[in-house]
Symmetry: C2
Subunit: 107 residues, 2 copies
DNA sequence: CCAACCCATAACCCCAGAGTTATACGAAAA
DNA sequence: TTTTCGTATAACTCTGGGGTTATGGGTTGG
């Protein structure tokens, strides 16, 4: 069986795929064509990556006529945050960890 | 060129390797033998994974006699936190995001 | 209806990398 | 010194999965 962490890390490990997800986070909903234009790989490759992202719950698709719009689903990152927090929790106290996060976000 | 995010995600994508890192976070410093005993793979495989983790800065090694002790380096997770925060930042305001993180840590 | 278009799927190639066994190397023990 | 132990490296195999081109399946426009 594959845990949510397995799925997330594996899905985000590929640079091309992660770039697609980042773009959807940055620029919002995009069509496959728009994504392909900047992906640096062929359209079928983009479609496959989007399918993987969808399976992982990281994106959602919306069909409109003959084009498909994809959008990022930020909730799917929750297991990643959980995992990081847990790893951090093994080390330092809760408040230290929080402080770190806040400082990091401030800069 | 490979960004810190690339390295981190790629390194943590493998379940066996991530399990090794998690164990080092949980139980602290461990010898290769101790890690091998629970890894479910051969000792050379464990050594290779540890080498990859070391290259990524996720672990440090300490030689004592004929055994090598490995320990987790939590600082190396910083780019992962940065990345997650940045993705979250594209979506919601800073306070909403913070609230989410706090809620998540509370449970 | 037919053509052009957008996207998904099929079929295939190729290689990075995770696993193995065998072996080399340094340190402790005999 | 010789042997045994702990770990790293070498050499190799093999599978997963990311890339490609070709094609299918709806959808819009002429």
């Amino acid at each position: 069986m594959e845990t949510p962490h397995d799925t997330l890390f594996r899905t985000l490990a590929d640079p091309t795929r992660r770039a697609l997800f980042e773009r959807l986070c940055r620029d919002g909903e995009q069509t496959v064509g728009a994504l392909t234009a900047q992906a640096g790989v062929s359209q079928p490759a983009v479609s496959k990556h989007l399918a993987v992202l969808k399976t992982a719950g990281l994106v959602a698709d919306r069909h409109e006529g003959r084009q498909t719009h994809y959008s990022a689903q930020l909730n799917a990152l929750a297991p990643l945050i959980d995992w990081t927090s847990r790893m951090a929790g093994f080390w330092e106290g809760r408040f230290d960890k929080l402080e770190d996060l806040l400082n990091r976000m401030d800069q």
